[in-house]
Structure formats: structure tokens, C-alpha cells
């Protein structure tokens, strides 16, 4: 993914956090493969010979894949988990949840028998290329209308209300201005037009913050992943906290500050409401088991402490890499730092590197900085006195 280097200052912590997000992210190649695969599933389900073709099946991705907040999972063989929804045009009264799931499964098995697995709410297709595609069967929610859908769930008797498209629109709305700004500066840099840069190739500080929080959470709760705070909780709170910061560090600081306040109980109950369906409380489970809430607050306090450590570190990258490795994982930090070094080398090769007067700090000359002199080309040589 393209990175979103901040325009205002040469904040290197931002760049490292950006790179961490980039290392965790699904990557452009895999993203495109995943898109092709879910589209192929859609074509298979809607082909003329399909027994569900008459219900005009529509498939679309949902969750972190659409929000651009996907990260490498700790478990599942480190496979990305791409969620999709298939909606069949059927009325709730005409079919049971079990029948709906079976209808979709019966069609999927014809083309994907070898890679198909049944899960509680969905069918999962395992692709060799480091990801699996979950397909959630659904029908339109005619009572709520719009893009609302009803999902199956073998553990629950009632149909589950959902509206992933509306949630994605809400999330994108929280970062729309920043996204437009980033695309504009990116277009300028790449000498391209804004229309040539698809949204999915860009990551805003909000998306990076969600990725960083998710990864931090996964490592923090690695002994008990089943009881970690849900991604939807993190994503919703982080998006509610986001005020259009251009710096990932600033956005992260404000998120760890505000999230515990937003999540605090109101009139004795925890309420993290679905922004597009206030009847749904993402914190329902916390009210049943307050230990879950305590875990969440313990974790946000830990993130806050970690961010403070990173922002106050003064001993250089080597002093930063240890605390960041315990937060995000050593291999992730190593890769991020290597990318950080590569990007500096690339800037010098492109002739956009400058050195700030007075401090010697290296800056990208395209960004407005205190007076800087250009860094001209040279070659670090060996240890021989020929130099």
C-alpha cells in the first residue's frame, strides 16, 4: 500500500508506525487476488446453472477488508481472513436460516469442494495464497430496508441484523477529508491524477491506528485470544475518536486518550453502539461479564503507556526497536525498520533528501521544513584508505 507520510513535519516515528501498518497490511498483490477470488465466487453462484441463480445472489466484501484495516493474524497459520457477504433475494418467511446456509453451501461445494469448510455463521474457502475467504449467507432485511441484511447463525435462533455496507460508509465518512487530502498530495508526488489512485491503495492515519491497535491487542492477549476485545469495538471507538489528524502518532495518542472515556459505562451499563444501528450494542457481552470490560481498560492503559514510551525515547532507533518489538512483534519491527531505511535511500536516490540547517536532521525536501540543504549523491565506501 502507498504510505501517507505526514506533510507538516518530518516525524520519523510516524513513518515507522506507517511502515509497521504496511508490514501488517494485506499488500496490493494479495488484495487484488482476494478481489478476483470473491468475484469468481459471485460468478459461480450466479451462473445460469446455479440453483440459487434465481435469487440473484450478490457477493461483496465486508469488515476489515473493505475498511482497509486488515492485519496479519497471529493464528490460523498467519492467513488473512477476508470476510464477504452473499445476499439472496428471499423473504425471511420463505426460508429458515439452516436452509439458507445449506443452499449456498450446496452450490459452493460444486466448485470449491476441496477448500470448503463449514463454520458457525459462514462457509470458509481456503486459498493457497495466504488467505481464506469467509462467505456469510444473508437475505435482505426488508423491515429496515436499504442495505440492511439478515444473517444466519447456528448458535442463535433469531436472524441476526447487520448492515456492513452502511458501517463501511460511516467509517469512510470519518476519514473522507483526510483521504481526499492524502490522495491529492499523492497524485502530485506521482504526477498522476487523483482519479488514477483508487481508495484501497491509500491508508489514512485512522486506518493505520486501527491496524496498530489490533496488532497490539493480539499480542497483549496472545495467551487468551478468545477473550480479547472485538475488532468492531476497537474500530468503532478509534473512528469515533478520529479528528482528521494527518500524523499517525497524533491520531494514536488521541485514540488511546479518548477510547477509554468513550467506552466508560453510562448509567451503569456499557454502551458501544453500532453507529448505523443504535439498537445493536457492541459491548453487550461486557454487561454480562464485566471481566471483559476490565480487560479492555487494562489493555488501553497498556497502549497508552507504550505510546508514551515511544514518543519520549531519545536513544535512537535502536532504543525504540525493543519496546516497539514487544508491542508489535520483533519480526514486524525488523521489517518496518528495514523499509524505513530503504525509503531514506530511495529519497536520496530520487534527489528529494535534504538536511535541516542547525540540527543535521534529514528531511524530505518536498515537505515544508526549516531551511534545508540538499543531500547530493555519494557512495559509502569500504574501510580501505583509498576512500
Amino acid at each position: 500500500m502507498l504510505t501517507t507520510t505526514p506533510a507538516s513535519t518530518a516525524r520519523q516515528l510516524d513513518e515507522i508506525l506507517e511502515q509497521v501498518g504496511g508490514v501488517l497490511d494485506i499488500g496490493e498483490d494479495l488484495y487484488e487476488i482476494a478481489v478476483r477470488e470473491y468475484q469468481a465466487v459471485g460468478q459461480h453462484l450466479a451462473r445460469p446453472a446455479s440453483r440459487i441463480a434465481r435469487y440473484s445472489p450478490q457477493i461483496y466484501p465486508q469488515g476489515s477488508f473493505v475498511l482497509g484495516t486488515m492485519i496479519l493474524p497471529l493464528l490460523d497459520g498467519c492467513e488473512y481472513d477476508v470476510d464477504s457477504v452473499v445476499t439472496l433475494n428471499l423473504a425471511k418467511e420463505s426460508i429458515t436460516q439452516e436452509q439458507l446456509k445449506q443452499l449456498v453451501g450446496d452450490e459452493l461445494v460444486l466448485a470449491y469442494a476441496k477448500v470448503l469448510k463449514e463454520c458457525r455463521r459462514c462457509w470458509s474457502l481456503k486459498f493457497e495464497k495466504r488467505f481464506h475467504l469467509d462467505v456469510l449467507p444473508s437475505i435482505p432485511d426488508l423491515e429496515l430496508g436499504g442495505t440492511a441484511i439478515l444473517l444466519t447463525d447456528t448458535d442463535l435462533l433469531r436472524w441476526q441484523h447487520s448492515n456492513p455496507k452502511a458501517y463501511a460508509r460511516w467509517f469512510q465518512g470519518r476519514m473522507a477529508t483526510v483521504l481526499a487530502e492524502i490522495k491529492k498530495s499523492m497524485a502530485l508526488k506521482l504526477r498522476a491524477s487523483i482519479d488514477e489512485i483508487p481508495d484501497w491503495r491509500v491508508r489514512t492515519p485512522l486506518q493505520r491506528v486501527v491496524q496498530l491497535l489490533k496488532r497490539h491487542r493480539d499480542l497483549f492477549f496472545r495467551e487468551d485470544l478468545d477473550h480479547r476485545p472485538a475488532s468492531i469495538v476497537l474500530t468503532t471507538l478509534a473512528a469515533q475518536c478520529y479528528k482528521g489528524q494527518i500524523s499517525v502518532t497524533d491520531a494514536l495518542i488521541s485514540a488511546v486518550d479518548l477510547m477509554p472515556r468513550l467506552a466508560a459505562p453510562r448509567e451503569g451499563t456499557y454502551q458501544i453502539l453500532n453507529p448505523v444501528n443504535p439498537l445493536e450494542n457492541f459491548a453487550d457481552k461486557w454487561n454480562e461479564d464485566p471481566a471483559l470490560a476490565r480487560r479492555f481498560f487494562r489493555w488501553t492503559a497498556a497502549v497508552k503507556e507504550d505510546v508514551a514510551t515511544w514518543t519520549s525515547a531519545t536513544g535512537g532507533v535502536m532504543k525504540l526497536s525493543t519496546p516497539m518489538s514487544s508491542a508489535f512483534g520483533e519480526s514486524i519491527i525488523q521489517k518496518a525498520l528495514v523499509r524505513h531505511g530503504q525509503s531514506m535511500a530511495k529519497n536520496r536516490a530520487a534527489g528529494v533528501l535534504g538536511m535541516a540547517v542547525g540540527t543535521g536532521t534529514l528531511v524530505e525536501r518536498m515537505t515544508p521544513t526549516p531551511r534545508a540543504v540538499p543531500v547530493r549523491s555519494h557512495t559509502f565506501y569500504g574501510d580501505d584508505s583509498v576512500g
Binding site: Q12, Q334, M344, G360, L362, H378, F380, Y381, D383, D384
Partner: protein
């Protein structure tokens, strides 16, 4: 080829002072000694760097503080045997160039990549080692 004009020690000193007003500078008997503080990035450590220069010699650059090759730790790449930094190759630098506009930013860049190297073991600043010197260095390493 365009003939280049050698920059005088006084001009070098003036430019260093202009870009780094807080640095220490001494010129004695045709020899310039500059000690300045560089912070290659805003999360990098601060380094005291020394440059020694005479008109008829190549500039000599070293890190005064902190110790960049503490004993018992692997030796950073692109360092001469006497711990001076290897910043350029052949004619990339000549006496017509301002130290403050070439050697100093290259030093800052060296320090930036040195930090990444310390944390990852990988040097991404580019450059190369002559094969002969590498053998010698390896020998030195195996017999400390």
C-alpha cells in the same frame, strides 16, 4: 572538464558556522577542526561529530560521542580501521566542495543508516566495500 577552484579553509569555516551556528570550530596552522551535534532524524540519538580538514588532505570524519563501535559488539560497515567514517568514493568529493553541504549531510545519513543497522543488522545506505579491505577487516575481526 571544467576546472574547479579549491575552497579556502576560511570559506569552509564560514559555511560550517553559517549552517551550524552552535557548533565548535577551530582553525590553527591551516588545520580546521569542527565539532558539531547531529541528529539524523527526530527519533534518532544526538551525535557529536568531528571533522578534521587540511587543504592538502581528505577530510577526516569521526563520531566523538556516543561510542559507535563498543567492544564486544559487531563493527558497523563503512568504517575505516581507525574508526573514521567512509562517506564517499573516489572523486565524489573534492576540495572545491563545501564540507557543510556534502560531508556533513553524508555523515548525518551515515548515522541514520547506522541506527537501522544497529537495530536490524541490515545496512540500507548503499555503498560498497572493496574486496581486499573486507578480507583484511574479517581477519582483524577474527583476531581481536
Amino acid at each position: 572538464m571544467i576546472p574547479w577552484v579549491r575552497v579556502s579553509i576560511a570559506q569552509q569555516a564560514a559555511r560550517l558556522r553559517e549552517l551550524f551556528p552552535d557548533s565548535k570550530l577551530e582553525v590553527r596552522n591551516g588545520r580546521l577542526i569542527w565539532i558539531g551535534e547531529l541528529q539524523p532524524s527526530d527519533i534518532a540519538a544526538r551525535y557529536f561529530v568531528g571533522i578534521e580538514y587540511r587543504l592538502d588532505k581528505r577530510p577526516c570524519v569521526y563520531v566523538v560521542e556516543p561510542d559507535i563501535c563498543p567492544s564486544g559488539k559487531p563493527r558497523p560497515p563503512h568504517l575505516y580501521a581507525d574508526d573514521r567514517l567512509c562517506l564517499y568514493y573516489g572523486r565524489e568529493w573534492n576540495a572545491s566542495m563545501m564540507l557543510a553541504d556534502t560531508i556533513v549531510p553524508w555523515t548525518s545519513e551515515w548515522l541514520f543508516h547506522y541506527e537501522i543497522w544497529t537495530a536490524t543488522g541490515e545496512w540500507w545506505g548503499g555503498g560498497f566495500h572493496p574486496p581486499r579491505s573486507r578480507t583484511r577487516r574479517n581477519r582483524e575481526h577474527s583476531n581481536p
